[in-house]
Amino acid sequence: MMDNVGGSSSNIAENSGIIREQDRLLPIANVGKIMKQILPPNAKISKESKETMQECVSEFISFVTSEASEKCRKERRKTVNGDDICWALGSLGFDDYAEPLRRYLQRYREQELDRANNPPKRG
């Protein structure tokens, strides 16, 4: 279930103390695609607004992860899990997010359990 993130190339960057742009930001095409789905069909998105959102999203991830990480450190746990993310969101005032995500987490765990109990048949 757990997995360590970051391939060898990003480790090189980390070791030299340099964080590459592609490691720091989410792909602009994906960010733009999500934004596009929200806008009316005739609307456009400027390049600067996509790049602004890119920065914003990275900051958001860092902010929430940092809070979750602090909780794990205090509880002497090595692995950040879904509950920690939910707790961090609530703790940082994103209560509107925390509740739906708890439900998402519950559904996710039910599916994982289902998958474990009923593995796909081969042959």
């Binding site: 360590n4 989410l26 792909p27 600067e48 959102m53 920065e55 991830i61 998402y104």
Partner: protein, 138 residues
Amino acid sequence: MDQDVQDRALPIANVGRIMKQILPPSAKISKEGKQLMQECVTEFISFVTGEASDKCHKENRKTVNGDDICWALSSLGFDNYAEAIGRYLHIYRQGEREKINHTKKYENPQNQTQINRAPPPPLLLSRVENPPPTNQSG
């Protein structure tokens, strides 16, 4: 993963990588932790974009720009974000202006003296219909 879900999803490896940078080296992130963050970030983008889009609609504008994103963040209560992103936007625009000025400088012949201008590439020289006579003394 069906197409709709795929369109809405951000690459989980990238999400995990950003999370990893914040954690101590010995820490790990569960798969569910990354997937939850992935879901959360998608919702965040939609939430902010929706607000920015409403502003553009009210002002009869077709294009969402950086200021609209800043305004949306502030309007939704992300004041700390709006302030930081406002500073980012200012720096970003300065950079873009410098890029444009730099390009203009090297594209506009009026801004250059004859000495500074690079000679045309050989391919263009070979296409000149009537090349000037070369001085062939000897």
